[in-house]
């Protein structure tokens, strides 16, 4: 096996096992621990490992989804950090927890990491919760909701001639179609662009179908450094490039129709260094797929969001990590050789992470 060399760091790191819950609008029968535990159990089983094999654990979640401090602390009860483990938590999507784990595995002697992310959007009013991400002096007091902010971005794209409402509907149509073959998806059906265009506006110019569903869900990944990855799986999904960047928060000070942070992260991750078979883009709103695709320079030969993407299932704090899972699964099963996984955080794509996953040649 010829492990593809990584662009960042010195030690190749691969995704070797994944697990995710089925996304649902409301998972009432499970609290966070019960949501997470089967997923963690499954990822260990998929890797043929136990908690004792893991050198580092990192998770992504946010307290505001549950409305109480330290939600990540109780979630640890699902993971079994005993004997005590090297463990950390980011108040970010699980994709950034993966980034931290990837950094940690650069060190010799740290070979296996568990990464997970979880979130239940069903407990509160997500639009109101997310308004608390905005500048606390000049924006949050007006409680702008995430759909309206996304609509500002979509309109900027339309004004700049980058997309039309029909383009948005075409993306939603394809996402729902792709989701039919994804058992974890929440929104899956066959609807043509023309049918979807009959939808009402949620906030113009965004019609209902351009919005992501509200989802509860959890996801977990096992990362392994070096050749040990081949002990777990025949075709590990090697992370050959990974980078993340942030844009200015004051989105009145930037062009909303572009994503400089994505462009820079994609350049550093080496997206354009070879053909991209598939890309899993964390574009919660349909228009953001067009924006991200342009920002990364992906051409027509790349299949976008074969899982259906966030338009089919979008558990906050796990949505980005699920993009890694969907991309890695397609490397591991041999259906793709080179894939892109992307995650976003913050209002209107403020922060973006891009990774290139490759199978060994």
């Amino acid at each position: 096996m010829s492990t593809p060399p990584p662009r960042q760091g010195t030690r190749p790191v691969a995704i070797v096992a994944c697990a995710q819950s089925k996304s649902e609008r409301r998972i009432e029968q499970a609290n966070e621990v019960e949501l997470l535990m089967p997923v963690v159990t499954e990822v260990y089983a998929n890797a043929g490992m136990t908690k004792d094999d893991v050198d580092f654990i990192c998770s992504g979640s946010t307290d505001y989804l549950i409305g109480g401090p330290f939600s990540f602390v109780t979630a640890l009860d699902a993971v079994g950090v005993w004997p005590p483990k090297a463990e950390s938590h980011v108040e970010m999507d699980g994709a950034w927890a993966l980034y931290e784990a990837w950094v940690t595995l650069q060190e010799e002697g740290k070979d296996v990491a568990l990464v997970y992310g979880f979130g239940k959007s069903s407990l509160g009013d997500l639009s109101r919760i997310l308004a608390l991400q905005l500048d606390p002096y000049t924006m949050a007091p007006m409680w702008p909701d995430q759909v309206s902010l996304a609509a500002l971005q979509a309109q900027a794209m339309i004004d700049q001639g980058l997309a039309t409402e029909e383009d948005f509907a075409r993306i939603a149509s394809r996402a729902r179609h792709n989701a039919l073959s994804n058992p974890n998806a929440q929104v899956a059906n066959e609807k043509t662009m023309e049918e979807l265009m009959k939808d009402d506006y949620a906030v113009a110019p965004l019609r209902r179908h351009t919005l992501p569903p509200l989802s509860d869900g959890a996801a977990a990944i096992i990362l392994v450094a070096g050749d040990r990855a081949y002990d777990v799986v025949d075709r590990p999904a090697w992370i050959t490039g990974i980078d993340h960047r942030v844009d200015a928060h004051a989105f009145g000070a930037r062009n909303l129709a572009e994503s400089r942070s994505t462009t820079k992260a994609a350049e550093n991750a080496g997206v354009s260094a070879g053909p991209v078979d598939i890309a899993e883009l964390h574009a919660p709103f349909a228009h953001q797929e067009i924006l991200l695709r342009r920002a990364m320079g992906l051409n027509e030969s790349t299949v976008i969001n074969p899982s259906g993407g966030p338009l089919a299932a979008n558990p906050l704090m796990a949505g980005g990590l699920i993009r890694f899972i969907e991309a890695a699964n397609r490397i591991m099963d041999g259906s793709a050789n080179r894939a892109v996984a992307h995650a976003t955080s913050g209002p209107v794509l403020q922060q973006n992470l891009v990774a290139v996953l490759e199978g060994a040649s």
Binding site: G68, M142, L152, Q155, A156, A204, A250
Partner: protein, 151 residues
């Protein structure tokens, strides 16, 4: 006996009256709003940032020099809300908009009141409509909304 399969759920309210110190720059902005004006601050290379921040968001350099902007400006992009949420600034249909005020180099998020959606388009000129002086306290809500210029 209680239903042996019932999953208990409960309302939970998280509520606190946060009080934020503004510092001098945001303080100057809120003071101006209370006085029925809008101000920005000069950032790197002299560009005028509205709402003002202590730093230029692109360079992190310290800003200095409060300048008057508006009250007129141009819609840079918009989003039409037919059914306002309970927490929206206006309870009748309106548009969220990024508005570049006259004299500013960045756009500010606020709302535009208009009779119908078709009159709100990118490039439309709007002007600030303040609440009556007695109701203004030094917050974004002192600026009730923007309205179409000359209407």
């Amino acid at each position: 006996m209680a239903d042996p399969t019932e999953i208990y759920t409960s309302p939970h309210v998280l509520e606190y009256p946060y009080a934020r110190s503004t510092g001098p720059i945001i303080g100057a902005f809120l003071t101006a709003l209370r006085d029925g004006k809008i101000v920005g601050v000069k950032g790197s290379k002299g560009r005028v940032i509205v709402p003002p921040t202590e730093y230029d968001p692109d360079t992190a350099e310290e800003t200095s020099g409060i300048v008057d902007v508006g009250p007129g400006g141009v819609i840079e992009t918009w989003a039409w809300v037919d059914t306002p949420r309970f927490d929206a600034p206006l309870d009748t249909p309106f548009a969220w908009a990024l508005i570049r005020l006259d004299g500013a180099d960045t756009a500010m998020l606020h709302v535009v009141a208009a009779p119908t959606s078709d009159v709100v388009v990118t490039g439309t000129r709007v002007t600030a409509e303040f609440r009556p002086a007695a109701e203004r306290v030094g917050s974004m809500h002192d600026l009730r909304c923007f309205v179409l210029e000359g209407k």
